[in-house]
Symmetry: C2
Subunit: 340 residues, 2 copies
């Protein structure tokens, strides 16, 4: 492939800006770079690769005339447009929104896990949910080596999952509290400062929220195990960056804890931080701006027999959970299918 | 029983002060009230029942000369002394420390669950761990009606669990961050402001922390099911008040979700807040200063077959998790064994 023309759609958002950073940091080869955003942000200038780049208003004509690979994080309505525009055009959209992730025609890709799926696209590839990505990166080596029966997840998700407005709401509320000023909640359903909210997204089927069902369905799709038992309780906590997950798994075979740790340690994109004798385990602040998913507190689940284990997973939800994974998919597309 | 002489040991601490508030609020009948604290706090004056009461230095003589019922929250070393002093003296100590909770001779009591155990004391009764109390209050009606096989808990614990110094550390760190000043961590092993720490207490057996094993062992003891499968991941989050718990259970029989909800709704000390259609579920801020344990997000665990369920539990860890439960035990002792 010659150097691709790359478009970033939603370039001024939290994830869009991180996509630009990652493209630059990873020296993604670009012949032309176009930044698109909503009419409101069009005309702004963003510095990329050391040069100022003007943000353009997203139109079908401007998009298709300038795009081989698009990286998008602009919400579901834009996703619908981009998918229609890209189909049959030669352009490929890597989209961070949840709009089409569970569409059987749409690949849902974590490059360390199911890279081949990226090449089965019809112009549109979905980037998975942030909580899902950091989970499946840990589950994949376990599934491959020991088999998996069941996964139960409780999340501790940062406000950055709701974008810049989520970050602003937590800091505004915290400052207001210390100044005994009035608290307003606009982004989250309850006060998030010094609180924990067991609701992310709307409530949906079976008493689960949309976020929780994303973890269930997307995990099954990415791992290619449609019947895997996966449940999630998704909780927003007052942290700015990184999501954490307390995870209980049941494996098919019965590894030792050391065998489990060893399987995890060898997997790309995953770093084991697990030495409780030295107080080593990951916390959200360890994960900030880190590309790797961090895992620790690996131990047998003393409630559940010899094939149940507990783990604690931390990752930067804006990086591996969003921008980095999208850029890695673009890298795959540019490199081409291995062995061809 | 005539009106008891009550001593509060550790009267100036966070839990001690709440014990005094609860004695007053619940009009606990007291003939004399003595407040004890360490030498450092002795001589201070605390207002109780509208009158100033002088805090005395804790000595064996002063304690035994003035105590029918003692409510203590003063750490393990003091617990050892109090237990020795009280044995055979006629005084009964209700102690919030973890020193002797798992001693087979020591009753570990949640009045709604195992009130009879309170009368099997040898002068010393243990008040359970805060995370345990709010859990067992929910498990008990489920155990009685549907049986229980397994319990997996992930906690979201506030800094008040570490006492006033925990509260101070979170607020100091948060203010320092907003002022771009240096952060110091003295009480918690890592920065707690805008972070989550999967370590409460020291690391102990099987890769679990002391706090996590307390939940396992104390739950079994209070419920009277020594083989119950219970595991916990205990996580400190940057909230000031109330602990939350994401809990997965497996029952023996197969209730419907409505039957489960109904069993919970009828149990004393427990309030069901579970109407996701109206956005109703408990958050830590709902639990502050509330006597009840709050439970919501009651649903079938879609990973685990027909007898697995998920729940979300919130309680004020300083009240039902500590001071209130201790005062309720004292009320039991004063009322005497029912039916005798």
């Amino acid at each position: 492939m010659s150097l691709p023309r790359v478009s970033v759609v939603g370039a001024t958002g939290l994830v869009g800006r991180k996509i630009l950073e990652k493209l630059e940091q990873r020296r993604f080869p670009v012949s032309e770079l176009h930044l698109f955003a909503s009419e409101r942000s069009a005309g702004a200038t963003v510095e990329v690769f050391g040069d100022p780049v003007r943000v353009e208003k997203l139109t079908r004509e401007a998009f298709l005339a300038n795009t081989d690979i698009a990286l998008a994080s602009a919400g579901k309505d834009v996703s619908t447009l981009l998918r229609e525009w890209a189909r049959g055009s030669g352009a490929v959209v890597v989209d961070n929104s949840s709009a089409f992730r569970m569409d059987p025609e749409v690949p849902l890709v974590v490059p360390e896990i199911n890279p081949d799926d990226a090449f089965r696209h019809s112009g549109y590839i979905a980037n998975p949910n942030c909580s899902t990505i950091q989970l499946v990166i840990v589950l994949k080596p376990i599934l491959d080596r020991f088999g998996l029966r069941r996964v139960v997840v409780s999340t501790y998700q940062s406000v950055s999952g709701a974008g810049q407005k989520g970050i602003d709401e937590l800091s505004t509320q915290a400052i207001a509290l210390f100044n005994q000023a009035k608290i307003e909640s606009k982004v989250f359903p309850r006060q998030i400062a010094f609180n924990s909210i067991p609701q992310i997204g709307k409530f949906s089927d079976y008493g689960y929220t949309e976020e929780e069902l994303k973890v269930t369905h997307e995990t099954r799709k990415i791992l290619g195990v449609p019947t895997l038992g996966v449940s999630c309780t998704a909780v927003r906590v007052p942290t700015f960056a990184c999501h954490s997950e307390s995870v209980t798994i049941e494996t098919e075979s019965t590894p030792t804890v050391d065998e489990l740790r060893e399987a995890l340690a060898g997997f790309p994109g995953l770093r084991v931080m697990d030495d409780t004798a030295d107080g080593i385990y990951p916390v959200p602040l360890d994960g900030v701006e880190e590309d790797d998913v961090l895992v620790g507190r690996i131990r047998r689940d003393i409630s559940g027999g010899d094939n149940a284990f507990n783990l604690w997973i931390v990752a930067d939800n804006i990086l591996k959970g969003a921008a980095l994974n999208a850029v890695q998919i673009a890298e795959l597309l540019h490199a081409g299918r291995p062995g061809r």
